[in-house]
Subunit: 156 residues, 4 copies
């Protein structure tokens, strides 16, 4: 039922870049079934996506400073096992290389033993201040993509 590879890509392309954050489930994130409400995963996922973007110099603020917004165009979550109150989970985000101007990320949420609880992906588009879709990556991201292709990206 759940694909393990949401984004298929040629092995010739640079490998995905990844970063993990850790987050503990809050009291108010638990629903009447005693598990984390499914709607809170978007925030868990965003925590990892934001951390990855910031560490690469292509975060929300970086785009915004260049007049570009990066709204989420698609979000997909496969809830494999529930998350519980007070437990801490790893959220791992991976950014996939794309020539087209879009941010393709996938996500894995793992418990403390490394078991996969959730898989997810998101797609973000780039728009300018007039709400027009950008078809090419903005100038300021060029050095980043060059480094990615050369295998010299540093994840802070």
């Amino acid at each position: 039922m759940t694909k393990t590879n949401y984004f298929e890509q040629s092995p010739a392309l640079p490998a995905p870049l990844e970063k993990s954050v850790f987050r503990t489930v809050r009291f108010n994130e638990i629903d009447p079934m005693g598990i984390m409400w499914h709607g809170h995963y978007a925030s868990f996922i965003e925590d990892a996506r934001v951390a990855l973007g910031n560490s690469l110099g292509i975060g929300y603020q970086d785009f915004y400073d260049h007049g570009v917004a990066i709204p989420v165009r698609q979000l997909h979550v496969d809830y494999l096992s529930p998350l519980y109150y007070g437990k801490t989970y790893e959220i791992k985000a991976r950014l996939f290389y794309s020539e087209a101007a879009r941010l393709n990320c996938d996500f894995t949420i793992l418990d403390e033993s490394g078991r996969v609880m959730t898989r997810a992906y998101s797609v973000q588009l780039l728009i300018d201040k007039e709400q027009r879709l950008l078809l090419e990556w903005p100038e300021f991201t060029r050095p980043f993509f060059r480094a990615w292709k050369e295998g010299t990206v540093k994840i802070k």
Copy 2:
């Protein structure tokens, strides 16, 4: 990029059952980009799903009263156009007929002119109090499914 039919089904099966709710975007649901934050859609969608379930007598509470929980196993959202503060949108939920014990719903969010802003779907599984997956629909839902096949379901 966006499929219009997430669930394909034989024309021989009973047609989906549907219900709409209306909801106005709140001040605190707007993100720094000036549009509704993508994570709030899960709640919009749930409003319609809950209303549909309740109107059919197979809501959260109905299942719960029979010892069954219906956790969300999969959620997918295609964000086509942004939602804005203070605007009221229609959220239309449709439940698809399934012999297997799972709730397959799709969702359409429309603006006041009837334009489609969002498409989405969710899949829910049924589990008992020992967290075991139910493979068959619980006894209490039988009359509902019979009525659905006979075309006599009443949506309150």
Copy 3:
């Protein structure tokens, strides 16, 4: 323990203006204790405050259109009885007359039988685009205050 009059005022001043909205507690607003999580009341209260402001022509958007923001400076909630899933409650907001440029509102949440479940109040200040505190009501609010004093305000 709970005061019933948060804002004391001279009987010579115009009486408070009020408006009610109704809201049903959502599945995801229930906490592990089986009652609405205390942090969600701010949104319930805001629903009534926004409705009252809009009905009087002095809502967020009205102020914003005149370059003024109205941030909440103080919020106080007395939780008297818990709110439950699926129940619908009335949230009544009252705006108190004030010569000083601040919005003093109190709130009462009632169940279907009219029993008081919650009392609360909020204080909002007015600031301009340079984040400076406004000491006087903006020009555009003058007709409203004149009508209030004359007893001719219409609540839409």
Copy 4:
């Protein structure tokens, strides 16, 4: 306008116990005014209260394991300066000694330079499984209170 001491107490009583947590403002916690929405402070405050309770062995789960719930009876927030996206703040919780069975906490949110951004307090009551108010501290908390009086409490 803002009191700095919400709970007055005799100097003869044991001093408050305190603990801080740190939290970074998320993208979706920012409202259309560009500052953290006032309703999210309840969660910031709860983070510090939960951490303090857990560190003292009198957290939600500790009470729950003894058949006691500790609902919030009163919440008060004084918003002194706004919180901004991506900034990290210290949230300091203090528990005040009380012979009566109630948890009186105050809170201070500070920015990275130590400036006070927010002051708040909460009062929690103790109820048993039949929703009856507890007038005395449960047995399991006795050693904790004895240690507090003796000045030997360890905050983990």
